[in-house]
């Protein structure tokens, strides 16, 4: 009997999209996802958000909305001036005040931790109208610089490691494996964890932040670099290699020009990312604006926090705009 006989289409087998098996699989998935959602409080989030939505229209009370209004009511207007008690200033020259600043009388509250009481005394304050904004901007500049140097050092680590971690230019299989795993190791450690450890080693300040950024992002950049080198078209490389050129020269002339645009894009992304990350690294004491943010947050100075958040937001947007422009120039 001929098994390859052409079947009439009337006898072709029907194909069902939904079978009992599908339903069972979907049911099991539903149960598993439900358990997981409960573990991560997705259900509670839904309830609370719904409550908040209702209470916007005056129906019921909501903790979520209360928390938000606690922040927002203190956050605006944002704080851009700086008030300092005169008697706390080391150098105060009444006849030679800083530009645009003036003095005023006010109450100075001080908390005495021993007696657990507030003492209020009248004192004179020096008011600098944009003093706080200036401080935030200086801190922001430090944050950007941290992001910049983090990126520079990261390239310095990623470039040689990336070449060693590319299969076609690694001198030996062992070196290749070693470089690849080293990069994975860098990638696997989050900046905040690295920064925590580095703060122990280098102390508070931007050093820990810069190095943390460099170590983490070099893992990312190095992998990107290596993958790009491996994916470069082999033809030009073969052409130069068959003329007797050493492999580093082939890399320079047949691979670099090709991978350059992609590398620029990666570096640009890493730079932007580093600035964003640098803003929070200060929370563990690794320098930048995050230190100021954390300090103000713990003092419930939400108006100061609002200034900082606004500064971060504007900086990130502006930098992304300019780095886009720069990238178009570089290509």
């Amino acid at each position: 009997m001929n098994t390859n006989a052409v079947k009439s289409w009337h006898n072709w087998e029907l194909h069902q999209a939904v079978t009992p098996k599908t339903i069972i699989v979907l049911f099991i998935l539903f149960i598993l996802f439900s358990i997981s959602a409960h573990n991560t409080q997705i259900d509670k989030a839904a309830v609370e958000t719904a409550k908040a939505g209702l209470s916007v229209f005056g129906i019921g009370e909501s903790d979520v909305l209360a928390g938000a209004s606690r922040f927002i009511s203190k956050a605006f207007p944002i704080q851009i001036s700086q008030r300092t008690a005169v008697n706390r200033l080391n150098k105060f020259d009444r006849d030679n005040l800083p530009l645009f600043s003036y003095t005023e009388m006010g109450e100075d509250k001080q908390y005495d931790a021993l007696t657990e009481t507030w003492t209020v005394e009248k004192s004179e304050f020096l008011v600098e109208p944009i003093g706080y904004l200036k401080k935030v901007l200086i801190k922001m500049l430090e944050t950007i610089e941290m992001g910049f140097w983090g990126t520079v050092i990261s390239i310095g680590i990623a470039l040689p490691l990336g070449i060693l971690a590319s299969q076609n230019y690694s001198p030996h299989r062992f070196v290749y494996t070693f470089a690849r795993s080293w990069l994975s190791f860098h990638r696997a450690m989050p900046e905040l964890i690295i920064a925590l450890i580095l703060v122990l080693m280098y102390g508070f300040g931007p050093i820990a932040g810069v190095l943390a950024l460099a170590i983490h992002t070099s893992g990312v950049l190095g992998k990107f670099f290596a993958d790009e080198i491996e994916n470069a078209p082999p033809g030009p490389q073969l052409a130069l290699a068959s003329s007797g050129a050493a492999s580093l020269k082939v890399l320079r002339y047949a691979v670099f020009p090709h991978v350059y645009p992609a590398w620029i894009a990666y570096v640009q992304y890493i730079f932007e990312r580093n600035i964003r990350t640098a803003t929070v690294l200060g929370i563990v004491g690794a320098g930048g604006i995050g230190m100021e943010l954390k300090g103000r947050w713990d003092l419930f100075d939400y108006d100061h926090v609002a200034t900082i958040l606004l500064a971060i937001f504007i900086t990130v947007v502006v930098l992304e705009y300019f780095s886009q422009k720069l990238r178009k120039q570089a290509l």
């Binding site: 052409a239 068959s242 003329s243 020269k249 082939v250 002339y253």
Partner: protein
């Protein structure tokens, strides 16, 4: 100068790509290798630049027997023009040409693309010979037309003053007028510098027009070796049947 002494190459699957070939190619000759696909042209070429080792017999460049130990010495004495051009698309025309000098340039100089002035002038001269102008120097190779790219490839092959230039299907993807012009450039450059050219072609008419010597291969064996004028009509017909693919023939018959 270039000698094949009963060279054979048998691949691991048992095919005899090159079968007992003996050739003596004199300096300055413009040799054209003809033959259908799989006749052993590429294998023969790759044995000259050391990418394929002969199974038996010897390939000699001057007094030097080609083997793995002197591979780099040999590669430096040979220029190559590849079938798919293999220029670096994003590199400028000038640096594509100068990249042919990489084996003899110091590492740090090559890193910052600093080449001696006389080498640059040499590149200018070569680019002028193959018909390119100053405005092309800073263009990226990818911005040039296929024919112009092939001219750059020729200049690159000649920049290191090689004794032999190997051209693998240099006009495979070009129209007839451009092909003639490219082959003319190649031949002129070869004559100016006294360079031996070994060139594979698919087109019998170009071979008859440009070659000093035609070497026709079939199944790894040489079945004609001599200057074009020695080709009698019968051999020409044979060659034509071999070289020209059936589709091309039917197109010509229709025309």
């Amino acid at each position: 100068m270039l000698k094949f002494e009963s060279v054979s190459r048998i691949f691991s699957d048992g095919t005899k790509a090159v079968d007992n070939v003996s050739l003596h190619i004199k300096p300055g000759e413009f040799c054209v290798l003809l033959g259908p696909s799989g006749a052993g042209k590429s294998t023969l070429m790759n044995m000259i630049n050391g990418m394929v080792q002969p199974s038996s017999g010897k390939v000699k460049l001057g007094d030097l027997v080609l083997n793995k130990n002197n591979l780099i010495t040999i590669q430096r004495r040979i220029g190559m023009i590849h079938q798919q051009l293999h220029l670096v698309p994003r590199l400028s025309v000038l640096h594509n040409v100068l990249a042919g000098l990489l084996p003899t340039t110091g590492f740090w100089h090559s890193l910052i693309k600093s080449f001696p002035i006389d080498k640059q002038r040499h590149a200018f001269q070569l680019l002028d010979e193959v018909g390119l102008q100053e405005k092309h120097l800073t263009r990226r190779a990818s911005e040039l037309s296929g024919g112009q790219q092939q001219r750059v490839a020729i200049a690159r092959a000649f920049i290191s003053n090689p004794e032999i230039v190997l051209a693998d299907e240099p006009v495979a993807s070009l129209d007839p007028a451009m092909s003639r012009s490219i082959l003319d450039s190649l031949k002129t450059a070869a004559k100016n510098h006294g360079t031996t050219v070994i060139c594979t072609l698919h087109q019998l008419d170009y071979a008859l027009e440009f070659a000093d010597r035609i070497i026709a291969l079939r199944d790894g064996k040489v079945f004609f070796d001599g200057p074009p004028h020695q080709l009698d009509i019968e051999t020409q017909t044979n060659l034509y049947d071999l070289v020209v693919s059936p589709t091309q023939k039917s197109e010509r018959a229709a025309a």
